[in-house]
């Protein structure tokens, strides 16, 4: 069996799984799995750039995904006129002052001669900068958050089309990745993992607590739909659509939800296709070969005159940007940003499972892993409950039975762990190995 045939069969298998969901459960859940599968595949491609191409162990994916989501809010949410432009600019100005302080401190550290004066100067810059930053920033935040806290209390968005936020989410994530990469990339592989794990937690903490930015845990809801996806309500009032739905024998509600999801699927598929094509081009280019050379032997690559640190930074930024794009897409589909929903197991480690099981280093493998693992993640829960119902059917009703059935939902974490261990042990190169 040659590779093309095998890969075609694997993807056909995924298609069968998703279409099967449509027949057995409902077409709505099938399309939902497809849509999140597409987004997961994009995230997996991003991680594959970092890990598969360059061997960078990034456990901060959740943070970049959340930054993408934040971009959606900042671009597309309704503007809050009371906070705009004065207080919003003041807040941003305060943040810039904070950044300038750190920049100045770094500059002083580099330029001044070594000694006690340098330490004191840097300390003084940091202290003065911190208090100045707090003074400007806190004043702005108080104004912004005091404005109608029940429905606003944030700086609001720009009210622009949400499609713009997809590339901007990538840019925002790339910016964060640049800062992180500058500080953490020189470290050895597991230090990088720990550093990125921490940064992701911090990004989520910021989203949860900085109410002025995106309302924190009060959430932002009702983000506009990306062009050309309409609202279900609009479709249900559109006579032409109702006629078509009736022609297909569907009731208007189901037909409208399906149509909306289908349009999302098309949009996401286009983005996935573009990113996949770019990633494949990158892999086959001299740049991709150089990346793999660096991954396989850093010392030799450095001896050949390759700037390892720069290349690492480059690929780290690119991969993170891809995750940011996926995050913005996800938030646009949900129509809301809920910081509490970002859990490292779901948004960081699950993506890792996708990449490893799909086949690290192979873009096609990452896409496959994205679909397959997302399907399992969704479906193991009902399967586990069904299985548990079957097992406990002989058991009398009681605390044990209800506990077992309630807990069956947690089986999916267990399943993911077992899958990851099995693949690492028996097929460490994944389902579609790197060529």
């Amino acid at each position: 069996m040659n590779d093309t045939l095998k890969n075609t069969l694997l993807f056909a298998g995924i298609a069968v799984l998703i279409i099967g969901t449509g027949f057995v459960q409902s077409w709505n859940s099938a399309l939902l799995i497809l849509n999140m599968g597409l987004i997961s595949a994009i995230m997996a491609l991003g991680v594959n750039l970092q890990w598969g191409f360059a061997g960078l162990f990034n456990t901060g994916i959740m943070g970049f995904v959340a930054l993408g989501g934040l971009a959606s809010v900042l671009v597309a949410a309704r503007p809050v006129p009371e906070a705009w432009p004065g207080p919003a600019f003041q807040a941003v100005g305060g943040l810039l002052m904070g950044a300038a302080t750190i920049g100045l401190a770094i500059l002083a550290w580099r330029r001044l001669d070594k000694g006690r004066t340098r330490g004191l100067a840097v300390l003084a810059i940091l202290l003065i900068g911190f208090f100045a930053f707090r003074a400007v920033f806190d004043a702005a935040v108080t104004v912004i958050e005091a404005n109608n806290p029940a429905s606003a209390g944030n700086i609001g968005g720009l009210g622009l089309p949400i499609l713009l936020s997809w590339p901007l989410g990538g840019v925002l994530a790339a910016g964060a990745a640049w800062i992180i990469g500058k500080t953490a990339l020189g470290l050895r592989s597991d230090y990088l993992a720990i550093a990125t794990l921490g940064i992701a937690e911090i990004i989520i903490a910021i989203l949860k607590n900085e109410d002025w930015l995106a309302r924190g845990v009060k959430n932002i809801i009702g983000l506009p739909r990306p062009w050309p996806v309409p609202l279900e309500v609009e479709l249900q009032q559109d006579p032409a659509f109702l006629e078509r739905a009736a022609g297909l024998g569907l009731d208007p509600t189901t037909a409208s939800t399906l149509w909306v999801k289908l349009l999302y699927a098309v949009l996401f598929a286009i983005v996935l296709a573009i990113i996949f094509w770019l990633a494949e081009r990158a892999r086959h280019s001299p740049w991709g070969r150089m990346m793999r050379a660096i991954r396989d032997n850093e010392v030799a690559a450095e001896a050949m005159g390759k700037d390892v640190k720069r290349r690492h930074l480059q690929v780290f930024i690119l991969g993170s940007a891809v995750c940011g794009i996926a995050g913005a897409m996800m938030t646009s589909m949900d129509g809301q940003l809920t910081p509490t929903s970002y859990q490292p197991l779901r948004f960081t480690f699950l993506i890792w499972v996708m990449v490893i099981i799909g086949g690290s280093g192979n873009n096609l493998g990452s896409v496959l892993g994205g679909f397959l693992i997302w399907f399992l993640w969704v479906q193991v829960e009902p399967l586990g409950i069904g299985l548990m119902n079957l097992i406990t059917s002989g058991l009398g009703d009681g605390a044990l039975k209800s506990h077992l059935i309630d807990s069956a939902a947690h089986m999916r974490l267990f399943t993911m762990g077992i899958l990851l261990l099995l693949v690492l042990r028996f097929s460490p190169r994944g389902l579609i190995p790197e060529k």
């Binding site: 500080t183 953490a184 592989s189 993992a193 550093a195 903490a205 607590n209 890792w352 490893i356 762990g417």
Partner: protein
């Protein structure tokens, strides 16, 4: 100006909580550092192993409570601790045999072992949530306070109170005992010495006839004991929730790296550095400042540098500073 009240407030809100939290972090970081020193990988499953061990202790505690076994003023969990450690140790040896040993024999890259530990993390996480659920569980019983706020105020007549909770006292005492036993074991016994030798130079240790499998088994046993104790103390002092335990991974790693990975003394020092910085940076200093400064300079704000939700940012900031300026940690650690 009222320095005595200021000091009591400081002790009550910063020193004592910091001491308890630092002890818990130190025990956890010791586990991380031992796995790193002997098995040579960063164990991402550490937090979830801790949740597993604590869960075992909680279940046995509940069983004891239901059949009426109590420890008087002390929490019943202390009685359940040895059983919990035994269960955790059995699970860890089983994990090593079925999972880690294969990669050790193959001499896999450390990063592969980290991946493998991610798999173990998922499984442990699933098991814990399956058995005890994802919610908060309380299992503390016995006397709540060693010195309650009211008693202290009556005893001293001060405005500020210094309350010492039983769990805090137990945490500190247990941590001191555990660390003392651990260092005695590492420095004085044959097995402990062979472990240090193995950590320093694997080839030389093998050459001098040290059985690596034995060293690994002993390491897992110690790590099981350390994590279960750390988790139980944390649970008694605060509360048990699987996700919180997973998140503790970050301060553990921070503590171990700040102290110098692979160095037990460093792990303890790192634990306290992280704990005290988290507490001081997120504490609202208004009360202390009001007591120490003259009345005219009394502060208006809370004088809180960062809100408590950013405690991860603090451990992380320290981690970053240490990594940038002294990559091997405060005490000489490994940098493989």
């Amino acid at each position: 100006m009222d320095l005595l009240n200021a000091f009591v407030a400081l002790a009550n809100f910063v020193l004592i909580p910091g001491l308890a939290y630092g002890s818990q972090l130190a025990l956890g970081a010791l586990g991380v550092t031992l796995v790193y020193g002997i098995l040579r990988f960063s164990n991402f499953a550490h937090g979830d192993t801790m949740a597993f061990g604590t869960m075992a202790v909680i279940l046995i505690t509940w069983w004891f409570q239901s059949i009426g076994i109590h420890l008087g003023p002390l929490p019943t969990a202390l009685l359940a601790l040895p059983f919990g450690i035994a269960i955790t140790a059995a699970v860890m040896i089983f994990t090593d045999r079925t999972v880690y040993r294969f990669y050790r024999k193959k001499k896999s890259d450390p990063v592969i072992l980290v991946m493998v530990s991610l798999g173990v993390m998922f499984i442990m996480n699933g098991v814990v949530r399956f058995i005890i659920g994802p919610d908060d569980q309380s299992f503390a019983d016995g006397e709540r306070f060693l010195i309650s706020a009211r008693t202290f105020k009556q005893m001293t007549g001060l405005q500020e109170a210094l309350a010492i909770r039983t769990s805090t006292a137990i945490t500190v005492v247990t941590a001191v005992l555990v660390v003392a036993v651990l260092f005695w074991f590492l420095n004085k016994t044959r097995t402990g010495k062979s472990m240090r030798a193995f950590s320093d130079n694997e080839d030389l240790a093998l050459l001098s006839g040290i059985n690596p499998e034995r060293v690994v088994i002993v390491t897992w046993l110690i790590v099981a004991a350390l994590t279960t104790i750390a988790g139980t103390l944390y649970g008694l002092d605060k509360s048990f929730k699987p996700f919180t335990y997973f998140q503790l991974l970050l301060p553990f790693f921070a503590a171990a790296i700040v102290g110098g990975l692979g160095n037990p003394v460093g792990a303890i020092a790192g634990g306290f550095v992280i704990a005290f910085s988290e507490v001081t940076v997120t504490y609202a200093w208004k009360k202390v400042a009001t007591y120490t400064l003259p009345e005219s300079m009394a502060p208006d704000g809370l004088l809180q540098l960062l809100s408590t939700d950013y405690k991860f940012a603090v451990s992380f900031g320290i981690l970053l500073i240490v990594l940038l300026f002294k990559p091997t940690g405060l005490f000489q650690g490994k940098s493989v």
